[in-house]
Subunit: 223 residues, 2 copies
């Protein structure tokens, strides 16, 4: 059964050093959805300057200069008032304490939204706001030990492609955000809608939230 | 065997109405690769203004306003001189004749690059330049009939996740660009490198270029 009152306005949180696919995987699906169902997007960041995937957390190497920038529509200081959903990506920017200060501060105020969705280490950001306290959540498997350190108050689920706890959906690493968003679209607009978009996008979904071979791959299945 | 002389400089072609995942799927993989191997990215477009996924080709619906913009680094008039590779995405922008005029004109000059990669209907763009004449190529399966009309001089392969003909790699629709880029990275930097990035990204690859259930799904398997 599709949701009787689907969301109309989705916000994406950007910060320097965000992981491109964490954002673009879900948004590409929602771009297609918005051609059939009314849906608005706001892109929120500290300032209105384009936000780059580049960051200084991982050491760069000589000869490399490889990044993309996405343009925000709103600042954290002046967000739209009618957001239904927030999508929080991960990326190495989450390891930058200065960047995280402003992001965590803003996300802390989003507890009243109808849905919060995180991809990859976006759940580490959400964990630091306290909004995940006492809830089940997952995250990037390669970074799982670090993510757990961000909050002991969260029930971290190591083996899961994604986890749903109430209105909070958290996915495993990077590519898992695509499976999460199809499952979420299926839960809100109906499974037929999700399947049609996946087929149009020629995407082979993992529809089983518990299937996750990457927990073993990265040695965290027993954590 | 990895390539003895891997590329150092990759260019991505953007135009209004490009499909976000066609670009972001491959670039996210290359972002990660660039942390270990020297690699530069240039983002090319008609002007230096941010390029939006929005377009006027598909009818919009009331209440929808959903798009993202990426910032170019170079114009078609002043491209970098040392590109090794071009990545050409698809999207509904390829149906806009005015947009395509400038893009096809620019791409026509890229025949000397070491590799050309297209995702989704990006192969329709490349077909119109003549650079695919006499070569095997694939494209988006839902749009396949339209793509074939863009050039009868191409040997269009309807059932394929991706196709390699010499230095030209073409993928099927949207998500297939991710499988293509992992295969290409494997062919150039080695399969171990590609597998490590896929595992880090928690991506379940389709490593068989001939496996393509979407050709049947969209009724073009016999085309």
């Amino acid at each position: 059964m599709p949701h009787p009152n689907p969301p109309k306005h989705i916000g994406v949180i950007l910060f320097p050093g965000f992981q491109l696919l964490d954002v673009a995987g879900p948004l590409d699906v929602l771009n297609i959805l918005s051609k059939t169902y009314p849906l608005r997007l706001s892109i929120l960041a500290q300032t209105l300057d384009p936000v780059s995937t580049a960051h200084n957390v991982e050491p760069t190497i000589p000869g490399s200069d490889f990044a993309e920038s996405i343009v925000p529509t709103h600042t954290f200081a002046n967000p739209p008032k009618d957001l239904d959903v927030a999508i929080i990506p991960g990326g190495f920017g989450t390891r930058d304490e200065e960047v995280m200060g402003s992001v965590v501060g803003f996300v802390k105020g989003l507890g009243g939204l109808r849905w919060i969705i995180t991809v990859c280490t976006g759940s580490a950001v959400l964990a630091r706001t306290g909004l995940l306290d006492g809830k089940r959540a997952t995250s990037n498997k390669k970074a799982f030990a670090w993510v757990k350190q961000q909050s002991p108050a969260v029930h971290w689920v190591s083996k899961a492609r994604w986890v749903v706890d109430g209105n909070i959906w958290t996915s495993s690493g990077i590519s898992a955000g695509i499976d999460l968003i199809y499952a979420w679209v299926g839960s809100v607009w109906g499974e037929e809608v999700a399947s049609l978009i996946a087929d149009s996008s020629e995407y082979e979904r993992n529809t089983d939230s518990g299937r996750d071979r990457f927990a073993e791959r990265w040695g965290v299945a027993k954590l």
